[in-house]
Symmetry: C2
Subunit: 244 residues, 2 copies
């Protein structure tokens, strides 16, 4: 395909050429696209035009960048490993990464009115509150905030969650069986704090999940957790499976 001098802007034509290469698998998933100088030369375009095309394809989820390494085709299919959206380290492991939580904060506190409502507890009842960043190998995958009614998990603040999985501890040490979760999802832009914690650019699009986790405790259904988790959206593929 060639850039033509017609009514369409040149960066837009270059975008379509690259999309076609991806659609027709001339460049495979996780393969490098041609370098900027190469694209400038092949299609006789300025650096600005080439950059605009690539930046838009990154923003639209076709490509991702690795610092100092180049620009790669993002997995758009189901052919390779995917991380299931379930907060479980096993899924990160299945993707071939070694999951590692990093605790930023762990404390016992009184919840805000909104969080108390989410947990269906009184605002006077204490919660175990934890902020963590979960890494896959050396790459941050998500940052999450957990609120857990403290009376359901007394003593949990003594556990070192840099080493232990939250759900495993809840299930093993407290006789609680997690049964289901309801979560909302939205796209937001990373603020300065999130950008630093997830090692991405400020203003990059990220996914915000908020949810309630339900569990069975001695035959009674309880809300064991209210969480908010922010996932980076550039390198990994997250999936959801639903049955009708």
């Amino acid at each position: 395909m060639q850039i033509q001098n017609n009514f369409l802007p040149m960066y837009y034509q270059l975008k379509n050429i690259i999309i076609d290469m991806i659609e027709n698998e001339e460049i495979g998933v996780d393969e490098c696209i041609p370098s900027e100088p190469k694209l400038m030369q092949t299609y006789n375009l300025s650096r600005t035009t080439v950059r605009k095309a690539i930046d838009e394809l990154v923003n639209e989820g076709y490509l991702y960048k690795k610092q100092g390494k180049g620009t790669f085709v993002k997995g758009r299919g189901f052919e390779q490993g995917l991380i299931k959206l379930s907060g479980c380290s096993e899924d990160i492991r299945r993707y071939g990464l070694e999951p590692k939580p990093f605790v930023l904060k762990a404390t016992i506190e009184k919840p805000s009115k909104r969080v108390a409502k989410m947990l269906e507890i009184d605002q006077e009842q204490e919660t175990f509150y934890m902020e963590r960043v979960i890494y896959g190998d050396e790459i941050p995958i998500n940052k999450n905030k957990s609120h857990i009614p403290y009376h359901l998990v007394p003593g949990i603040e003594k556990v070192d969650f840099n080493k232990e999985s939250l759900y495993k501890v809840i299930e093993k040490d407290y006789g609680i069986v997690i049964t289901r979760a309801i979560r909302t999802v939205e796209a937001i832009l990373a603020n300065e704090e999130i950008a630093l914690q997830l090692k991405i650019k400020e203003g990059a699009p990220v996914m915000l999940f908020k949810g309630q986790v339900y569990a069975d405790m001695k035959g009674k259904e309880v809300i064991i957790e209210y969480f908010e988790a922010i996932y980076r959206s550039d390198q990994f593929q997250f999936y959801i499976e639903q049955h009708r």
Copy 2:
């Protein structure tokens, strides 16, 4: 709470004041926050500072704007109606909106190599391809692209999908029972086309879902659809329910 002249930037302090109002439900969901002049006056701040605080809270999913009407608190809980992420008009109806599809394109075509792989068909086999925007009342909710193997739904191009629901037609007219879906989710930025179609700003964060829909056809499992859907993320709350 008051703005203090300490080390924290003033826009950041104002953000925290507004977040506290939301967390403590002094301003409820879908209620208006104080106007810009009011905030400038109350906290003795410049318009630029107030705008920066509000813009960041919009980007981070705390607030949403309605043109000419003001800035409102976004639903962050599960107390009110939520739209289930299932592509079904019934869920939009449950939210109290009247769903209306608007067909942009409907055609029979040969798939790209990537789409053929997703549908597990040969690239020579034709597909029914449709692009639609789904409205709830007068507000666009999502834009989606469907690819359906044509041999499973011969004659489907004669249906007017401005009036009929895609899944209803597939199930009723072709004896196909939809059983499950696998979808990936990522956050991207709206490009010019999507911004126009969803009536949002270019560069606004949106959610991109891509997926395969499986169905039962005379006792055999088939992939009935590969889709890509872009959801706006500012006004509605979308949710996912998962059982463990």
